[in-house]
C-alpha cells in the first residue's frame, strides 16, 4: 500500500475501476463514456478493460440515463450514471426525486435504488449559465438522497467508493475546475473508503471556523495563509457530504472558535450555507461571539466570460475580508 499524488479525474477512474473489479454488479452508464472515456476522461479505458456490458454508452437523454439507471438498480445491478454537466441533472429531477429517492420508502424497503449519479458542477471553466451551476443544495433538500461534493483527490476516491457501496441513491458532484488538481496524497489500498456524512478538518485553527466544500476549500486555504500573517488563525472544515451533513464536526469547531463563516460558490441565497448557519445559530447560540457570516455568489446566473465569472464567484480575498470583519467581534 502506497500513496501517490494523482488528479481528481484519476482518483475517480481508480475508484470506479477498483469497485468494478471488486463487484461485477457495478456498471457505468452515460453519454460518450465508452470509447471516448467521457467528456472529462473519467471513464477512459474502462470499456476496454471491462467490456461494453459493464460500460454503457447511452443515447442523449439525461432523464433516460437516470431512469434506465434506476431500472438497472432495481434489476440487481449497481449502476454509476454519468451526466455530462450537473445542469442537465435538472431534466432528470423527477426521476431522481420522485423515483430514486422514494422507492425504498414507498415500498417499505422491498425495493431499493443503489445508484450513484455523477456529474461535474460549479464554475471556473467559463461554462456560462447552463454549464456552471451549483445544484448540490437542490438535492441535499430531498429526503432519500445522499449528496457528496469532494474537494481533494483522496476524498474523491474514498467517497466514490463509499457511494458505490452505499445502499441508497447518491448524487456525486465533482467541482469541474478541480478535475486536474493534485492536492494531497492518495492511498492505493482497495479498501480505502471514506464513510459518507463525515466532515474533515482541513486545517486546524483557533480563531474563526470556516465551513466550506468544493473549490472554496482551496480559496479558504489561501485565505488562511494570508490571514496567518495578520495573526488570525482559521480553522477550515470541509463538509465533503452535504447530505447527511456532519453537524457534529461543525459544532465542535464552532464551540471552540466561537466564530463561524460559511463559504460556498453556490448563491448565498438559500445555499447549503443557510442550513448550516441557521443550525449553528440555533444550536450554538450561547457559544457565538458574533453573527454567522455567509459568503456565496450573488443572485444571478453564472456568466461565461471569465472576468465576469470572477465577479460572481466568491474568493479568498472576499473570505479574508469577512474574517477580518468577524474578528472585530
Amino acid at each position: 500500500m502506497t500513496e501517490r499524488t494523482i488528479t481528481m479525474v484519476e482518483a475517480l477512474r481508480e475508484g470506479l475501476r477498483e469497485e468494478m473489479g471488486r463487484d461485477e454488479r457495478v456498471v457505468l452508464l452515460g453519454d460518450d463514456i465508452g470509447a471516448a472515456g467521457g467528456i472529462f476522461t473519467v471513464t477512459m479505458g474502462l470499456r476496454e478493460e471491462f467490456g461494453s456490458g459493464r460500460v454503457w454508452d447511452m443515447p442523449l437523454a439525461e432523464n433516460g440515463v437516470v431512469g434506465v439507471g434506476i431500472g438497472a438498480a432495481i434489476g440487481g445491478l449497481r449502476p454509476v450514471a454519468e451526466v455530462q454537466f450537473a445542469d442537465f441533472l435538472l431534466s432528470a429531477m423527477s426521476q431522481i426525486v420522485n423515483e430514486a429517492a422514494k422507492l425504498r420508502y414507498r415500498s417499505l424497503g422491498q425495493w431499493s435504488c443503489p445508484i450513484v449519479i455523477r456529474a461535474p458542477y460549479g464554475a471556473g471553466l467559463a461554462g456560462g449559465p447552463d454549464h456552471s451551476q451549483s445544484v448540490e443544495t437542490l438535492f441535499a433538500h430531498i429526503p432519500g438522497l445522499k449528496v457528496v461534493a469532494p474537494s481533494t483527490p483522496a476524498d474523491t476516491k474514498g467517497l466514490i467508493k463509499a457511494s458505490i457501496r452505499d445502499e441508497d441513491p447518491v448524487i456525486f458532484l465533482e467541482q469541474k475546475s478541480l478535475y486536474h488538481q493534485r492536492y494531497g496524497a492518495v492511498s492505493d489500498d482497495e479498501d480505502y473508503v471514506i464513510p459518507l456524512g463525515r466532515a474533515i478538518v482541513r486545517r486546524e485553527g483557533k480563531d474563526v471556523s470556516v465551513i466550506t466544500y468544493g473549490a472554496m476549500v482551496f480559496e479558504s486555504l489561501y485565505a488562511a495563509e494570508m490571514l496567518q500573517r495578520e495573526q488570525i488563525d482559521l480553522e477550515i472544515i470541509d463538509i465533503r457530504t452535504l447530505q447527511p451533513l456532519d453537524i457534529d464536526t461543525i459544532g465542535e469547531s464552532v464551540s471552540k472558535t466561537n466564530k463561524a463563516i460559511v463559504f460556498h460558490e453556490d448563491t448565498r441565497f438559500s445555499g447549503i450555507g443557510a442550513e448550516i448557519a441557521a443550525t449553528i445559530g440555533e444550536e450554538l447560540f450561547e457559544f457565538l461571539d458574533g453573527p454567522v457570516i455567509r459568503l456565496g455568489a450573488p443572485f444571478t446566473p453564472i456568466p461565461a466570460k471569465p472576468s465576469l465569472e470572477k465577479e460572481v464567484i466568491p474568493n479568498a480575498a472576499a473570505l479574508a475580508n469577512a474574517v477580518r470583519r468577524l474578528s472585530r467581534y
Partner: protein, 352 residues
Amino acid sequence: MQDVDADANIHRLQESFNTLDFSAQDALEMYRFMLLARLTDEYLADLRTKGLMNGGVSCKGHEAIQVACARELVIGTDYILPYYRDLALVIAMGMPLYDIFLNHLGSEKDPNSGGRMRPAHWSSRKLGIVSSSGVAATHILHAAGIAFAAQIRQSSAITAAFFGEGATSEGDFHEALNFAGIHRVGALFICENNGVALSTPQSRQMKVKHVADRAPAYGVHGMLIDGANVFAAASAIREAAARARNGGGPVLLEAVIPSQNKMHEQPEIYDPVYSLRTFLLQLGALTEAADKEMREACAQKIEEAYQLALSTDNTGIFAVQDYVYADNPAESPQENIQPEISFSIEETLPND
C-alpha cells in the same frame, strides 16, 4: 376494433380461443379471475361511494388484457411494473385480496407500502411487482433498465410495464422505447388504451390513431390487439413474451379497451367479462348455475378479505421515518414486511 354485433363478437372470441392450446378449464380459470377482479372492483367502488374507502380507479373493461398477462408471464421470475389501473393484473398474479384491501384502506399493515402511498400503488418483491409511483410514465424507463440489467446478467426474466395511452405523451416513454429499441432488451411495453386520460380524449393526446403506430419510430415491434378479448390478448402476450425472452427485442403492445360508454350501453359486445361469460356458456364450459355459484364464492372471499382487513389493527409496524434510508432501520426488509396473517397465493383463487 371495428364495431360488431354480439354474435360476431362471440365468434371472434371463439376464433381466438381456437388458436390457443387452452382447455375449457383454462378459459374458465381466466374467467374466474376476471370475475373476481370485477367484483372486487365493484366492491371497492361501492365502499368509496359510501365514503369508507380511499381513492383508486376502476379496472372495469381492462380485465381481459390484465388477466391474460398474469397468465402468460412467469410470476416470481419476470418483473412486472403495473400502474394504478391494474387491479385485475395483481389479483391474477396472486396478490392476496387481504393485501389489496389493506392497501385500499391505507393500512400500516399493508405489505405493499404500509400507508405510505395512496391505494393502488402495489409492490411485492415475491411476485416481482415493482413498486410504482404516482407519476405517470416514469416506470416505463425503469422497465427498460430492468430489462437491460437482465440481459447483462444473462437472466431469462423479462420485464413488463403497463401504462395508459396518456402516459405515452411523456418524454419518459420516448426515452424508454428508444433505449429499448437500440439494445433490443427483453421488455414488453403494454399500453392499455382506453381512449381517455382523465378528461383528455386520445385526439388531444396524439395525432396518430394507435399507440402501436409509434413502435416503428423506435425500431420496436408493435402489436395492436383487442384488449377485451382475453384469448386474443393471451395469444398476443404469449407471442410477445416469447419474442422478448428469446432475444427478439422489445414489443410495444397496444390493447384497445372499449370506452366506458360503449361498455355501459352494449355490455354484451364490449364488456369483456360479460361476453366471455356468454362464450363460456355457449361453449358449455359454464352453466348458469355454476356461474352463480362462482359469483357467490367470489363475493364471499371478497367479503371475508375485507372484514379481515378491517379488523386488522391499522397502526404501525414501522415508524413513519423508517425506510427513508437503508440504515434506518437496519433490519433486513424482507423479513419484516409480511404481516403474520395473510392469504397464501392459492387462497385468492375462488373455489368452485
